[in-house]
Amino acid sequence: MKRTQFMLTRVLQGLVAILLIATVNFMLVRAAPGDPVSVLAGEAGASDPQFVAQLRAQFGLDQPLSTQLATYVGKVVQLDLGYSYRQQQPVLKLIMDRLPATLLLTGTAFALSLLFGITLGALSARRAGTWVDSGITVVALLFYATPLYWLALMAVLVFTVQLEWLPGFGLMTVGSGATGFALVLDVARHLVLPALTLALFYMAVYARMTRAAMLEVAQMDFVKTARAKGVRPGRILRAHVLRNALLPVVTLAGIQAGGMIGGAVLTETVFAWPGIGRLMFDALLQRDYSLLLGAFLVTAAMAVLFNLITDLVYTLVDPRIELT
């Protein structure tokens, strides 16, 4: 009962937040200099007043800003994200076309970073002060400090150009005509470099965080009690220390998950990965308002959704936390 009420309140709050975000986004996007028409006219290498007026009318930019905002919010309420005149396709279709590629990339990176981050962190905590600990710490700090962009380019130069082990561009081999298992294998090979690159940063963060939290929990009284009772060290580490050390990791994982849709712009750009981050970045440069707002909205919805999920996961990890 309490749970249902909590969910309902949170969903309602989330919807209001999304609508507010949509309005703020609209104003923010319009504050940037230039509009889609000036960009299109600039690219054509020639324009005249007739050309500009024609496009403005077509895009609805000849209306007063307040009317445009009202039209936009009205459409968002009906789940209509509008039409991208630049790409000549509905915004929802553009986003949905790109969503699988992005989720595949960010989802894989999410799983990899959590798995390796927690494992390395736990290992580091268990062997605290030894060379294993120092080694993991150095590697984690290195990945944490290296710009993603540089790391991605180096990965391409080493593994694609020099060693020729893995493909460095795109989602699959263009024109290969592969189907079934061959296609899965092809996509998997293309996924290795971008997913690893993207995973490294968060992996480093999780490793550091798990290590610190575990060392802290290990000093607590209940762990001493467990040890005194003669529980095996491996079990103490897993059931008592690690589980209680995971809360900060869950918080951070929630943030990473919320950014899964829009947070891979750099990786997608370097690896020519046809995802949403790039769609959004291109839309920003081209002032493709409706597409940009649509992408922002989906990203915001994801963030709200994952905040909620994170709160639910807290209660699973630590039953003492109550939903209110």
């Binding site: 509009d35 006219a41 290498g45 020639a46 263009v174 020519a272 291109d282 440069l285 081209q286």
Partner: protein, 522 residues
């Protein structure tokens, strides 16, 4: 008239199409088939060439659509969909004979009705540059299914130069007549008469074209399929070429220092041919409406301060050369018989002192087109500082750059502009009073106005005798170089990078924007 004979001679060339003297069917015998992998940057907004005319669209759609004429590297007209043409003595009536047996990709015949529809209905509505080029045209008529007549109100000197595929692509009447052109769903699957047909566009990944096996020139195209890959990062594009994923990189798609490095790899070639028609020309807008740019001595000082050699050599890695004035050396009636501005800091300082410039800081708007342009802007900033002119850079993206120029909100600003083969088509618009209007970054953005210059450009456009035009344009160049409305910097020689297993990728003065019909893969 001699000129008329010359024009008709072009028509004779269609009889036997050859490449460097080798008949095409022999050439085709051993090397038909294969795939070309090219880079396109950025991903085009659409492929319907009648509606979108930006660089990437032209490069891809030049394979799908065709114009009535093509042009060689000297901008001499060559037959394409029109096989021959005649002009009356006054230069007011142009009659084109169309090639018989040409079909659209959907099998419908291409006729004079399509030409009239394209030029008079469709493009007049959607194509800003063609609208200006057709200002002199009174009527466009189909005489019979294979004859079209353009009647002019007054002679227009460069008229025979406006029929290239990007300037006037032929649009299928049976698909677009009576529809809303901009929202016609057929825009997603373009239909032309060209050697390649649209096959597939996976947004964010690639665009695929396939050979049109019913193309109206026998044995063309030679390759089976062309892929245009979308790779959004410049360094990644260079790596993609190096790793062999792509074989063809158009000018400007990778940074020039990478072009130089990649061109030294085994089996790689580079060419700067194929930009003669566009003749990209870069200069610095000087806002003539404001002090101190309103003073001719200040503008001349800027001209003397610029180190064009260093810009060409360092920023452009040699893929550019100093510009000598408003005309690019590739376009008609270019002359060197004008005032010269070699780098001379002492002269610049002297002129600056006479101009009354008091050391105020001026805003410099660089072009946000990547590393090369940033470096050129840094060099300029240094050059101006040496002469005593203080500038600060305004950071912006492409949309912001457009907006500032549209609103004349700048002091000094970078640009580069295509000149389209003839001063009446690509130069006059930057200097005549009639072209002062907010809302375009490609017209008379500097606000220069001189009735004498207006008159010269006007009479140059209406004159058809090349000798007389030459004299008129020489005078215009002389005045412009004395009054320096803008500070000319470089002629750009965009390099096309390709693997040498490809041949004949550049077949005309518009380079990769023409079709890859006669290109082959070894």
């Amino acid at each position: 008239m001699k000129r008329r004979n010359l024009i008709q001679m072009g028509a004779a060339a269609t009889a036997g199409l050859t490449l460097a003297g080798v008949p095409l069917h022999l050439l085709a015998a051993g090397r038909k088939g294969g795939v070309i992998n090219a880079v396109v940057q950025p991903e085009p907004p659409g492929l319907m060439l009648g509606i979108t005319q930006n660089g990437p669209t032209q490069m891809i759609s030049g394979n799908i659509y065709e114009g009535l004429l093509r042009y060689d590297e000297k901008i001499t007209p060559l037959p394409s969909l029109a096989t021959s043409w005649t002009v009356n003595k006054e230069g007011t009536l142009y009659t084109f004979k169309l090639k018989p047996g040409v079909t659209w990709h959907d099998g419908k015949p291409f006729t004079s009705a399509d030409v009239v529809f394209s030029a008079d209905v469709f493009l007049r509505k959607t194509h800003a540059r063609l609208r200006a080029n057709l200002a002199a045209v009174e009527s466009i008529k189909a005489i019979d299914p294979l004859t079209v007549e353009f009647k002019l109100k007054y002679p227009f000197g460069p008229f025979i130069g406006i029929f290239e595929v990007g300037s006037m692509p032929m649009i299928p009447k049976h698909i677009y007549d009576g529809t809303d052109f901009a929202t016609n769903p057929a825009n997603a699957t373009p239909i032309g008469t060209g050697p390649f047909k649209f096959k597939e566009w996976v947004k964010g990944s690639y665009i695929q074209l396939v050979a049109n096996d019913k193309y109206h020139v026998k044995d063309v195209p030679l390759v089976e399929s062309v892929y245009f890959h979308v790779i959004p990062d410049a360094a990644s594009r260079a790596a993609a070429f190096e790793s062999g994923k792509v074989d063809l990189v158009p000018g400007g798609a990778v940074e020039y220092f990478d072009v130089l490095r990649l061109s030294k790899l085994p089996g790689v070639a580079v060419t700067t041919k194929g930009w003669e028609f566009f003749a990209p020309h870069s200069w610095l807008w000087l806002n003539n409406r404001k002090a101190p740019m309103d003073n001719v001595k200040f503008r001349q000082a800027v001209m003397f301060a610029i180190d064009r050699e260093a810009m060409a050599k360092i920023a452009w890695q040699g893929f550019a050369k100093p510009a000598t004035g408003p005309f690019n050396s590739n376009i008609k009636f270019y002359s060197t018989d004008v005032a010269k501005y070699p780098r001379n800091i002492e002269t610049a300082k002297k002129l600056l002192a006479e101009s009354g410039y008091k050391g105020e800081t001026l805003r410099l708007l660089p072009l946000p087109y990547g590393e090369t342009w940033s470096r050129q802007a840094e060099i300029l900033k240094q050059n101006l500082a040496q002469a005593g002119i203080k500038v600060e850079m305004t950071a912006t993206d492409v949309a912001g750059w457009n907006q500032r120029l549209n609103d004349w909100d700048y002091d000094l600003a970078f640009t580069y502009v295509y000149q389209y083969g003839d001063p009446a088509l690509g130069v006059a618009r930057n200097y005549t009073t009639a072209n002062i209007a907010k809302g375009s970054p490609f017209n008379n953005v500097e606000g220069y106005s001189n009735p004498k210059v207006d008159e010269l450009f006007d009479s140059g456009a209406r004159e058809t005798d090349p000798e007389k035009r030459k004299a008129i344009y020489l005078q215009a160049q002389k005045i412009l170089l004395d009054e320096v409305p803008v500070a000319w910097m470089l002629e750009l020689n965009f390099p096309t990078l390709y693997r040498s297993k490809l041949s004949n990728i550049i077949s005309s003065g518009i380079g990769l924007n023409d079709s890859l019909g006669t290109a082959s893969v070894a």
